[in-house]
């Protein structure tokens, strides 16, 4: 497990929560800071003394107060650290659950885990710590789509066309024939079957007839 961890969060109660988690994981040295600038300086110092931190757990949003900060937000801190100490592992632990933000941090700034604060926040953090230690990524459920390659539920003109033919009463064979006649590819029966299956799932239809009814109700054909 990690040996030396620094936690940056301006809410002491949350700091305490994280400390508990880290304690159960039996991590030896845990340092807490409430300002991004402090985190930066401590990390820099640790590298200079050749005893670097293994991990940074940081919030994204910090309350502004009387102290002027070079790094006013967790994002600014992460950006700087990623440049200077690319091998420092970083877990973002935040209330922010925007997919975009998560994607940017993971893709551009090499953040290893993005954990959303929530009811199960601390449990997720534990999971993240374990995975990150094994050099794996972790994203909370809310922001998981940030990295998923799963195609969105997009329908295209081809989908609309075959559903249109279905609603006109054509069988799948006839649709295939019709597409061939119109020089439209793909037009094989298997393609049509695959497409209709995909559409049935997308539109939560029990069968093809149901699909046509739903699509018609939604005004797509």
């Amino acid at each position: 497990m990690f040996k030396k961890v620094i936690v940056a969060d301006d809410l002491i109660s949350i700091n305490l929560g994280i400390h508990n988690v880290l304690k159960t994981l039996k991590i030896g040295e845990v340092v807490s800071v409430q300002y991004c600038d402090d985190a930066y300086l401590k990390i820099k110092k640790s590298y200079q003394e050749q005893d670097p931190f293994d991990l940074l757990i940081t919030d994204l949003s910090f309350k502004k107060d009387h102290r002027d900060q070079n790094y006013p937000s967790g994002e600014a801190l992460v950006e700087a650290l990623h440049q200077e100490f690319p091998d420092l592992k970083i877990i973002v632990y935040t209330i922010e659950d925007r997919i975009q933000r998560a994607r940017k941090l993971v893709r551009q700034y090499g953040v290893k885990a993005y954990v959303c604060k929530g009811r199960k926040g601390l449990e997720e953090l534990t999971e993240a710590l374990n995975l990150v230690y094994k050099d794996q990524l972790y994203l909370s459920e809310q922001v998981a789509p940030a990295l998923s390659k799963k195609s969105s539920l997009e329908v295209d003109d081809f989908d609309i066309l075959i559903m249109k033919y279905l609603s006109d009463g054509l069988t799948q064979d006839q649709i295939s024939q019709q597409l061939k006649d119109d020089n439209i590819t793909p037009n094989s029966l298997s393609t049509i079957e695959k497409r209709l299956n995909k559409l049935r799932i997308q539109f939560k239809a029990n069968n093809v007839i149901h699909l046509v009814a739903i699509v018609k109700d939604l005004g797509l054909i």
Binding site: I99, Q100, G118, R119, P145, A146, E154, D156, L218
Partner: protein, 489 residues
């Protein structure tokens, strides 16, 4: 000057010109005549004005004859001739022209003209005109060495004698004398000159006497007397030309003066024009400054109002959704036997609500790939209960849309999704996009329970947003028929 005044002025100038000519101030007389002419130019053309003009031209012609400038004299008389339609005036003018031609040594032209005048005089049965024409005709013939001239002169003299006008009779005798002088018959010339002299003495008109004496002197036997006469004549001519020179200098000076005055006037005009433009520019400038200030003030006010409304909305939301729930939890906790899990569940719901409120108002970065941003938004609202299906989202060129419009589109879709999640119980949402020139059509449709359309709060908000970017949004819904919104931006 108004019209009656102008007429009076013209009349006075004409009289002045006549007097000045009599006094020998030929230049001043000409000036007065020209001024009268200028005034006449501005008057409407009627018979009276035409007559006045003709009279002024005639006067100018006679002035030039006096100055021995016969060409100009003829030109002015001819001008006058075009303006008159009275036969008497016409004949007088033609006589003047013919006389000037005679003086100019265009004798045959003069002779023709006089012959014609003689015929006209006969037709008119005007013996004065006839006699004058005959007399002049005889004179012209004499100069052409035509001896029939003498009978013309005689006839004219006879007519004049019977008319009994003294100056005319003197004229006839004078012309006889000149005729004979031209013929070289000095004896007879002298005799007629003496006759003229004695006739002239009867009326004692000095100018007539002078006229007659001049020819008498030119016929004198004594050479000294003759030389004296010639000298007087040439002196007169010299004086005339000196006068003319002086007059023209004086005229030039006045012209210069007038020019200088005009220049001054122009400068003054320019100055006032400059002043006008300067003040116009100033007025425009202050007006535009005023408009800008007013616009800015209005914009500021609008912004303030918007901020105020947003604050009001958030505070209402916090009150309605958060405070109520928290109060509810407090109530629950006061009663025994509520499980820890139940409280946690409830608290989580409140937490989510606060997150929703903050999400609705947090800034969005639309600089990045906007399609991705929209897809993220869609993914956020997708879950096991609801599928959000998109159509042709990739066929829209979001770069054509300005940033503030992108924000509006994002917020409106967010609002629609939030409503869908909260109220509709929908399991399917179709979001179709269409690029139509520079416009983007977005159609939202779900299969939820629908509602009776009441545009308030959330929907009102979306409508305002779309209106503020000059787009349009139409809602359609019925109970159990889903909810639909068509947006054009």
């Amino acid at each position: 000057m108004n019209k009656p005044d102008t007429l009076k002025a013209v009349f006075c100038l004409r009289q002045l010109a006549k007097v000045q000519k009599k006094l020998g101030a030929l230049y001043d007389s000409e000036k007065s005549a020209v001024e009268a002419l200028n005034l006449l130019e501005h008057l409407p053309e009627n018979d009276d004005n035409k007559y006045s003009k003709a009279a002024v031209y005639n006067h100018l012609g006679r002035l030039y004859r006096e100055k021995q400038n016969f060409e100009k004299a003829i030109a002015y008389h001819k001008k006058a001739l075009t303006l008159v339609d009275n036969i008497k005036y016409e004949i007088a003018l033609r006589n003047n022209i013919a006389y000037a031609e005679l003086k100019r040594n265009n004798i045959s032209v003069a002779k023709e003209a006089f012959a014609k005048l003689y015929q006209d005089g006969l037709v008119l049965n005007d013996s004065i005109v006839t006699a004058r024409a005959l007399d002049n005709l005889g004179l012209a013939k004499g100069k052409l060495q035509d001896t029939s001239g003498v009978s013309d002169l005689q006839k004219a003299l006879d007519m004049r004698l019977s008319l009994g006008i003294n100056s005319h009779i003197v004229g006839s005798y004078h012309d006889f004398s000149e005729y004979y002088k031209d013929q070289g018959n000095l004896e007879k010339a002298k005799r007629y000159a003496e006759k003229a002299y004695s006739q002239a003495k009867k009326s004692n008109n000095p100018s007539e006497l002078l006229h007659v004496l001049r020819i008498l002197i030119s016929l004198n036997d004594d050479e000294a007397v003759r030389t004296y006469g010639a000298m007087v004549d040439s002196m007169k001519t010299v004086n005339l030309s000196v006068d003319e020179k002086y007059a023209s200098k004086k005229y030039d000076l006045e012209k210069e003066k007038a020019l200088a005055y005009e220049r001054l006037l122009e400068l003054e005009k320019e100055k006032s024009l400059k002043f006008f433009y300067a003040s116009l520019a100033l007025v425009l400038l202050s007006l535009s400054v005023f408009v800008v200030v007013v616009q800015r003030h209005r914009h500021h006010k609008k912004q303030q109002l918007e901020v105020y409304h947003t604050e009001l909305r958030i505070s209402k939301k916090v009150h309605d959704e958060v405070a109520n729930d928290v109060y509810h939890i407090m109530n629950k906790l006061q009663h025994e036997g509520v499980g820890r899990e139940a409280i946690l569940d409830h608290l989580e719901a409140v937490y989510d609500k606060t997150r929703d409120i903050s999400r609705e108002h947090q800034e969005i970065n639309v600089v990045e790939n906007f399609q991705e941003i929209l897809l993220d938004l869609i993914r956020y609202y997708e879950n096991n209960q609801v599928n959000i299906i998109t159509k042709d989202i990739s066929k829209v060129d979001w770069n054509l849309l300005e940033s503030h419009k992108k924000v509006a589109v994002y917020r409106v879709l967010q609002e629609l999704f939030t409503n869908m999640k909260k109220h509709s119980q929908a399991t399917l949402v179709v979001l179709s996009f269409k690029q139509n020139g520079a416009k983007i059509h977005i159609n939202y449709k779900d299969n939820g329970i629908g509602c009776e359309l009441k545009i308030q709060n959330g929907l009102q908000n979306t409508e305002n947003r779309i209106k503020s970017i000059k787009g349009s949004i139409i809602f359609k819904s019925e109970i159990n028929k889903g909810f639909q919104a068509s947006i054009i931006v």
